[in-house]
Point group: C2
């Protein structure tokens, strides 16, 4: 069952704790650095069965993002309370996406801005999870080893500055594709604009190393842990687009969409050797 | 005279035209893509003598940024009316910075979000304009010719996704400097995080080419036009940090701070050969 995609909820963090407000009510002031500078961090958390089963991994990454960007972390208890407030009463049969935003606020020493948003997972996202996605590769133009020594580029932080990520997806749509695999200057695999790249080859699951500046994928980490438990070995592998072409299967993983099989890569159809079912079963455990 | 830096104003664009609101009143909803994705564009316009003498150049660049990011442009008349509303009654003796934000809004086909903010120019900005700035060079990690052929990287668009720009300035502050000159992977000069690089050498003013993906500087364009009229030739020059070291003078130009002389570059003191006065006189005409 899918709820109307317009069913939206918002909760803001206040001195007194979480406060649920109307989703159409403005909640951020014009001088907030999260708005004017994209100077904040976020997480997108799956809501399923009325719960957020993978929240812990997102809280840990939000904490790391706040550290990298030197934004005051309001603490795990605050974020948990806020997410709990916005999710409370959400129908168990409707998949949702809960976004948590933490911004630098006014940037003048007053507290950061913390809010949570909840809406139904779009039907198109569910379709992509089920039917797969056409992907194009686009270069980010940065060498794979560059961001590890250039902390001002904020590698590893999930910031609100996603204009390029969104532009890459629009570019893909204009090419008739659904999504993107970003590559380094020399053609090394990085990540999707909102996902982690995983491929199956030679009996193993592979994903690119995070020292390239990509985000540590929460869904990829869960899949790899469960795959190892299940006897499916995993590797962190510096790969190229050629490795994806030669792979048995390729997925883009994210918390909300799950494992979306890549059915077309740079215009060429490709299969998944029947492996997507096993991946999705491991993630659903 | 400097007003309290907390004197802030905000105007939002509505169906009925501009509406001035309290600066502490929230004006943007949680689902606005300008907040959650840094998916919007902006301009920072100097307010002096109670007026915005350089507004035209900012309007033109805002329009280009909207085109590059495929955000619906509400049109010059709307932006002029909004800026007029927020500036009206601002004291002539207080320099202000008027920021105009245009976001994708909800991204669902409803109108974009347009708002304007006004606050006094911070004393520190005035100090940097007068006394000069210590600058460090930091690499963006992208080749100088890369962004011209990678439109998804949004070269030339002044987007709200400024987290890296802000992080670069924080990195400079941690090194005891005021600001940054960003360079390409191969060490070519690009721009400051919020400014344009200009240097004087061999009797000419120089600035890097915009096909590197940098913003077209509104203040740099005004300076160059007036310098040419004044018999000071100008060039668009692909330069390196060595060119800045060898230059007679180096400035970071922006609409609000004006021409800030670089008095220290990567830890080495440097002069301006007495040229800053002429640059500032040309800009003040």
């Amino acid at each position: 069952m899918t709820a109307p995609e317009t069913a939206r909820r918002v909760a803001v963090w206040t001195e007194g704790g979480p406060r649920v407000v109307d989703a159409d009510q403005p909640v951020v002031t014009a001088f907030d650095q999260g708005l004017g500078r994209g100077d904040g961090v976020f997480e997108s958390v799956l809501v399923t069965g009325g719960r957020t089963p993978h929240l812990d991994a997102h809280l840990a990454r939000l904490h790391r993002s706040a550290q990298i960007t030197a934004i005051t972390d309001p603490g795990e208890d605050a974020v948990r309370a806020l997410v709990g407030a916005v999710v409370a009463g959400w129908p168990a049969e409707v998949e949702g996406v809960c976004r948590v935003f933490l911004t630098r606020g006014l940037g003048d020493g007053t507290p950061p801005t913390l809010l949570a948003l909840l809406s139904a997972v779009p039907a198109e996202t569910v379709r992509q999870r089920t039917e797969g996605i056409a992907v194009v590769t686009l270069s980010l133009g940065v060498p794979a080893d560059f961001r590890a020594t250039a902390p001002w580029l904020l590698g590893g932080a999930k910031t609100l500055s996603y204009a390029v990520n969104m532009a890459a997806q629009r570019h893909a749509h204009a090419l008739g594709a659904d999504d993107v695999v970003l590559t380094s200057l020399e053609g090394r695999l990085l990540e999707g604009p909102t996902s982690t790249v995983v491929w199956a080859a030679r009996g193993r699951l592979h994903t690119p190393p995070v020292d390239t500046g990509i985000l540590a994928g929460t869904t990829q980490a869960r899949l790899f842990a469960r795959a190892e438990d299940d006897g499916w070995p995993t590797s962190v592998t510096p790969g190229t687009v050629d490795d994806l072409v030669a792979a048995d299967a390729v997925w883009l993983l994210s918390g909300v969409r799950g494992a979306a099989p890549v059915t077309r890569l740079d215009g060429a159809d490709r299969g998944d050797a029947g492996l997507s079912r096993r991946v999705q079963e491991l993630l659903a455990r």
